[in-house]
């Protein structure tokens, strides 16, 4: 798995565009550092959960008939 080291300002702008989230000037710089750290850890977790031994695990938040 490729490791994301540091997201760029342009990366943040692209992500915001994908989410249709308007970001005023200056916001990408606020978000860039902490999001880089979160994404790095999230990718590590995704890597763990992609192992063959865990393929049968279903998400904890699933549809339940009892809740309707």
């Amino acid at each position: 798995m490729n490791d994301v080291t540091e997201l760029s300002k342009m990366d943040i702008e692209v992500l915001a565009r994908l989410a249709a989230l308007p970001l005023p000037e200056g916001r990408p710089d606020v978000i860039r550092g902490p999001l880089s750290a979160w994404v790095k850890d999230a990718n590590e977790l995704s890597h763990k959960m992609s192992q063959a031994r865990y393929l049968d695990l279903i998400p904890a938040a699933i549809f339940s008939h009892d809740s309707f």
Binding site: V30, W38, D41, I58
Partner: protein
């Protein structure tokens, strides 16, 4: 404040309830004492967003009349309580600590509020909090920062920081908080009080402003374990209005309080539970384990293979779900959010769907590993958080080796585990650091086995006096 008022405000729920039942104390006296205490303490700690002075006095008078007439509703009859301001209360502004919802007036009570009312509790006010419960400092940009009664220069943690400070400062006998990633347990720990995160689905979330739907809970915050069980008795149970509520039978959660801990098995996860801690926290929780051993419990190392990774899963879920809830407001009113919450909501929109789904799959893995481990032990015990109260306004914390760490990740080192697994957990005060700031331990139990948590906590409080000490405010 008169000494009589002061003594009344210091009574536990159990003590006050008993005196009211015997007609030795009136709910009116009790409410007046708490309101007097609020007048003294709130200018210092800023624990309340709203105080219901007139209404609380009127309800107290009615509660007194009922007792005199022989109509006693139970141990919460006439007990002054605080409610976190994200819990809806009919005809009362419920802000969730935000500017965005500053004018929201619910047309009905949240289920937990209705249940407390039905049991005779009297609401003295709504407590301050981290904006929308999305953070652990309670440094609120709209209503001012909450401060720690043990040292007002220090933070009360959060997000239920107002409830924690309100109870510790003796301005109410008990309060409710909400807990998604630690928001009841963290402020309970740093304010030196007891706080329960229930099993997911045990307590209704209906009428509560959500943070992250798949992890949200409501829990009691009190000064003693017995009080916590009394309040929990009132709010636990199925609610058809909440799709996540579980139709599991409730117990009398006070029934096992005097059973002791002889024979109970305590698990500790080596390489995680006592790593990366400030020394006073390490020493206090280790000492608590020794106390339990002295009372007849056993302590065993139990491996949880995949416990590392829980903080990332917690942050992924706790950031993406709120970003879905706030999506419209974030586009229409971004400047109405505080800087930290706005940033976190923006970040939550930028994590991938696969990050979220893998985090939800990780929850199931972690839950399976804990359920397997519960074949060997009855509870787990660890610190509630790795440090004692930091300065108000700090966004970084030093835990070891002089290295600054991000507050949000660091504060959830231990509370994320029950949040992800849905297991119940109880904070119990277990010591103080060299500056007199409280330390808390977290007892984690099997699903729907809150009774064992209360049993252990009550045995510990029977043996120690940390919960009897109070801030000099």
């Amino acid at each position: 404040m008169s000494s009589v008022n002061s003594e009344l405000a210091e009574l536990s729920v159990a003590e006050a309830g008993d005196l009211i039942a015997k007609k030795a104390v009136s709910p009116v006296e009790l409410v007046y004492a708490c309101l007097a205490r609020i007048a003294v303490a709130n200018p210092v700690v800023n624990a309340y967003i709203s105080v219901y002075e007139e209404q609380a006095r009127a309800v107290a008078k009615a509660a007194e009349t009922m007792v005199v007439a022989g109509h006693h509703l139970g141990p919460l009859h006439g007990i002054p309580m605080g409610l976190k301001d994200n819990i809806g209360l009919k005809d009362q502004t419920t802000t969730a600590g935000s500017k965005v919802m500053a004018d929201w007036v619910p047309t009905r009570d949240a289920t937990v509020a209705a249940r407390l009312r039905g049991n005779g509790a009297i609401f003295v006010g709504k407590t301050n909090m981290h904006e929308f419960a999305w953070g652990g400092t309670s440094d609120n940009p709209h209503y001012g920062p909450v401060r720690n009664p043990w040292n007002p220069e220090r933070f009360p943690a959060g997000s239920s920081g107002g409830s924690g400070a309100a109870v510790a400062a003796r301005t109410c006998a008990a309060a409710l908080g909400t807990d998604t990633g630690g928001s009841v347990r963290l402020p309970s720990a740093v304010n030196g009080i007891v706080g329960l995160r229930p099993t997911i689905g045990r307590v209704s979330n209906f009428g509560v402003v959500p943070l992250a739907w798949s992890m949200d809970t409501v829990g009691p915050m009190t000064r003693t374990v017995e009080d916590c069980a009394i309040v929990f008795n009132a709010i636990a149970g199925h609610d058809p209005n909440d799709g996540g509520s579980v139709p599991e039978p409730v117990a009398d959660y006070t029934a096992d309080l005097r059973k002791g801990v002889k024979g109970l098995r305590i698990g500790v996860v080596p390489g995680y539970f006592f790593n990366h801690l400030q020394p006073p926290v390490h020493d206090a929780v280790k000492s608590a384990l020794t106390t339990f051993e002295g009372l007849g419990a056993t302590v065993t190392d139990v491996e949880i293979e995949n416990i590392h990774g829980n903080i990332s899963a917690q942050l992924t879920i706790e950031s993406t779900e709120p970003s879905a809830y706030h999506q419209k407001w974030l586009r229409e009113r971004p400047t109405d959010y505080g800087e930290d919450v706005r940033t976190q909501l923006e970040m939550g929109e930028m994590l991938l769907a696969t990050h979220y789904v893998q985090a939800q799959r990780y929850r199931r893995l972690l839950r399976q590993e804990f359920m397997e481990a519960f074949k060997q032990v009855d509870v787990f015990i660890c610190p509630t958080l790795p440090f004692t109260a930091t300065r108000v306004g700090e966004m970084k914390v030093v835990i070891e080796n002089g290295r600054e760490e991000d507050m949000l990740s660091a504060i959830m080192q231990f509370t994320g585990v029950p949040s992800l697994t849905g297991l119940p957990s109880l904070n119990v005060p277990c010591g103080f650091d060299h500056e007199g700031l409280p330390v808390g331990m977290q007892i984690i139990g099997r699903p729907f086995d809150e009774s064992t948590l209360f049993r252990m906590g009550a045995a510990f409080q029977e043996e120690t006096d940390f919960h009897r000490q109070q801030p000099n405010l």
